[in-house]
Amino acid sequence: MCKCTTNPFDRTRRQFLRTASLATMSGISASPFILGLNSVAAMAQGTGATDYRALVCVFLQGGNDGHGTVIATDSESFAAFTQARSGAPGLAYPLAELLPIVPNTSQSGRTFGLNPNLAGIQNLFNAGRAAVVANTGTLITPATKAQVQANSVQLPDSLFSHFDQTAAWQAIASNGGSAEHVGWGGAVADLIESMNMNSNSMFTCISTAGIALFLSGQTSFQLNVTPAGPIPIYGLQNSLFGSQAGSSALNSILTAEETNLFAKEYEVVVNRSMAAQALLASSMLPAGPTGVPNPPQYLDPTTNMLTDNPLAASLQTVARIIGGRAGLGVNRQIFYVQLGSFDTHDGQAMTHAKLLTQLGQALEYFDGLMNTAGIGNQVTTFTASDFGRTLTSNSDGTDHGWGSHHFVVGGAVQGHDMYGQYPVVGSDQANDVGQGRLIPTTAVDQYAGTLARWFGLSDSQIKQVFPNFANFGTSPYLGFLG
């Protein structure tokens, strides 16, 4: 089936070897990946970054309704919001139920409240540990409504499409939607690797939600970890069906040279797992009283019952890995966690209430963990989502939009504030291209570039990762990280 030629140093394999130096610790004696010399040299030449920093992307999968997340409460704005949502019971919240937030920077007399289910974020905001970044979304260059309507400005491909706008948020480089396959988290990690900031770049990118485009790099790879932690391949760990020869053969088979590209790249993933498993398993802190405390249950507003919080569980896994950073040899890490079901075309009142409660509680729990660990200023968490949603409703839900409001959380965040411009509320306003689909006034590039600079990238590196960055001004950073 495969004509196994000896071509051990194709590009991919070489990159893999370069990042697999700690395979020796995996206990696989016959592994061909015990070649730690490159990385040992890299450690010696490293920039010596000893301060730890992490970025945590919380992706609200499906497109979060920004209009119903951060709400302008001055009388004119709120009347317009209430009118637009009047056909949708449960989506026009009573003013008294909103959770007020008062940005440090005056917003031209406008006032704001958070969705009633975001008490966790209100707490973080009031503690100066969270900020709102208003009307952020995918752009190639600033766009006005007139330009959009005249089709005279370059726009991201396939607006309002989940798949493509998720790609545009997570990948950015071309804003080419589904054609793009390197994410900006992965591109940042590639540069971190090139700067030798981590002695073991295998553990730079971690996803708790399967393979994320956001963390897909050219030279860096993501590890996918579940709350169960990394599990060994039983057949390698012990004898196979009672036979040691079987276990040895398994190791040989899983590391044999493959010719067919699909077999070959499948094997690369298996080998990466073999190389990472033991060190990650031994470095990760346990869950629970002896390690990272379990998240509290949250009160589900739709059932009034205490319920497990899946986002908090994912962030607990992140905290367990961050707690093992010394053993993993990392000074910079990028995490991806996901909370699903934000595509609230119907049943939004129930679904959104539940999801936002999970979000607020999970972010507060995680920030608390980081503070307790003494690294509250070194971990910055941010939200992202496919797109915002319409302001008007389809009677019990909302449809796909564009710009949306987002949150940044952490001790490094200049919190208690709002960045970007909160739009005028109501139909047919300046940034509205129909039903309250907002033209973003802040680009994802600016949001992401601000995060990347804090993470340690230079201006020129940021322009490399975000090729459209200069389209948004001479210094497009948003200031929420100083």
Binding site: A88, S161, V182, L240, I253, F262, Y266, Q277
Partner: protein
């Protein structure tokens, strides 16, 4: 070729094996009985029964392993990854195990029918109606608009895709070399108006309560969960509807079925559909990167099966499977870019069928295998979103596949977690027996009879799992491991244990090989 065609004809002729009766029966026998007249009891049993989903999953395993209509089962499975519904985070569907099974059966029933029938049945299915929120979609008023969900996804995912295509699957380009969008948001909004005014079907009843709330019509063998959605003219938009170059003028009276026919005919006759659908079905069944010529050949059959019929799926399936690019193994093996990664669930199922696996309890109690660590990382009708477990255009970054400009859809769920999950799950499955291990096990009768002769054992496993094309290195590795398990003399139970260990070792090592994870 005649042999293949004869087998295909025989498979086409077999009646579909449905899941829904198995699921209904399982719900009935595993729950307290309902009297026929008790709507509350029957509703709790059939349409408010979150725990009943397990029987849908058991039914899947039962059919995958034992049903005679295997080609249909395989195509049905592929269709379920294109015409996606999922109970993952969708409690409305999860509550209706019988309806969920009936949706899967619909895909099987229509797999050998016409695409237009498939499109109609999927569109009106109440589980799809709940999944993409066409069910109960109201016409709108001064403050509300129709829900755009189904209108958008039926175009993007089920029929025409985002960009205009040539018949070979390549994108058409404008004068500046850019791809040309197939539709705009205005088309989505126009089409959304068509998909208003459909909801639960209660025979003879189009009252507001029938429109708005399942379930007032449910019992053994019948219910809103099983019937196609019906139209409610008073909830259907009468406004002008513009989409894909078609205009349905505004009208004084609502005509939901007439408007729906125009919309589905438009999608069915759209020039993108033949290549858009054909390429995806090839990717699911044969190879991730079919040549433009291969796609063209299939798209041509889709457009006209030779008798002037468009959308004949039997003809399309036949053409896909008998195409030279699917059948010329010598050429394909010599090309390292040919083939695909096979889904873990498909690989496990191949084991079960190859070795006539059976259920110890008769229930096929395998449950969901979707956990990436403890299972296979996937399960039917459980994908995370409408975009399935993997996208047809997925490019794994930093790989030789990306460098070659190719896609590898299944690599999107090939993570460092799921590859280990597969290896361990399969080790458990292969190592099970009639006495121990998972509910689904094999006795390996034929293989045990060969196990005293490792070469003969390998010949059989090579035939069953690798179509006789295992490469010599892999074979010698496995042969060495098998031969190293010595067969004692005397004690028969010790002999049997050693023979069993040989069989399990040979099968597991074959299934663990990267070559088995790929199809080429």
């Amino acid at each position: 070729m005649e042999g293949y065609q004869a087998w295909l004809n025989q498979q086409f002729a077999l009646a579909p094996t449905p899941q829904e009766p198995f699921v209904e029966q399982s719900l009935i026998v595993n729950n307290p009985p309902c009297t026929a007249g008790s709507l509350k009891c029957n509703a709790a049993l059939f349409v408010q029964n979150t725990n009943g989903e397990i029987y849908v999953q058991d039914a899947f395993w039962q059919q995958s392993l034992a049903a005679p209509d295997q080609l249909r089962q395989r195509v049905k499975y592929a269709l379920s990854e294109i015409f996606v519904i999922s109970t993952n985070n969708n409690f409305a569907i999860q509550n209706m195990p019988r309806g969920e099974a009936a949706y899967y059966d619909l895909l099987g029933k229509d797999a050998f029918a016409n695409f237009r029938t498939l499109l109609n049945d999927v569109t009106l299915n109440p589980m799809m109606g709940q999944f993409l929120s066409m069910l109960g979609n109201d016409k709108g008023n001064a403050t509300t608009d129709p829900d755009e969900n189904y209108a958008r996804e039926v175009m993007q995912l089920l029929t025409v895709g985002l960009y205009q295509l040539n018949d070979d699957g390549s994108q058409k380009l404008d004068g500046s070399g850019n791809p040309i969008p197939t539709y705009s948001n205005n088309d989505v909004q126009g089409l959304a108006k068509v998909f208003t005014g459909f909801s639960w079907s209660v025979p003879g009843n189009t009252s507001d309560s029938a429109w708005s709330s399942c379930c007032i019509y449910v019992g053994t063998g019948f219910g809103e969960d099983l019937l196609p959605m019906t139209s409610y003219p008073s909830h259907h938009s009468t406004a002008e509807k513009d989409f894909l170059g078609v205009t349905v003028p505004s009208s004084g009276s609502a005509d939901p079925s007439g408007d729906l026919k125009i919309a589905l005919d438009t999608l069915f006759n759209h020039p993108n559909l033949p290549a858009f659908f054909s390429k995806q079905l090839i990717q699911h069944l044969v190879t991730s990167n079919p040549s433009p010529a291969y796609i063209s050949r299939i798209a041509a059959i889709f457009k006209n099966d030779g008798t002037g019929v468009r959308g004949n799926l039997q003809a399309v399936i036949t053409a896909i499977l008998l195409d030279p690019e699917a059948r010329d193994s010598a050429t394909d093996f010599a090309n390292p870019q040919y083939g695909k990664v096979r889904e873990a669930l498909i690989r496990y199922t191949e084991w079960a069928r190859a070795f006539t696996a059976q259920s110890r309890t008769g229930s096929y109690f395998n449950g969901s295998t979707e956990d990436p660590i403890w299972g296979l990382g996937q399960m039917t009708l459980r994908s995370p979103t409408v975009f399935n477990w993997f996208a047809p255009g997925y490019v794994p970054p930093g790989t030789s596949i990306a460098a070659a400009g190719l896609v590898a859809p299944e690599m999107q769920m090939t993570s460092v977690s799921s590859v280990v999950g597969y290896l361990n799950y399969v080790q458990d499955a292969v190592g099970g027996s009639s006495a121990n291990g998972p509910d689904i096990f094999s006795n390996y009768g034929e293989e045990l009879s060969l196990a005293s002769n490792p070469n003969a054992l390998m010949d059989r496993i090579n035939l069953l799992l690798m179509a006789g094309e295992m490469d010599s290195n892999l074979r010698s590795q496995i042969l060495g491991a098998v031969s190293a398990i010595s067969i004692p003399s005397g004690n028969q139970s010790a002999i049997n244990a050693a023979l069993t260990s040989r069989v399990q070792t040979a099968i597991y090592l074959t299934m663990a090989s990267p070559a088995f994870a790929a199809q080429f």
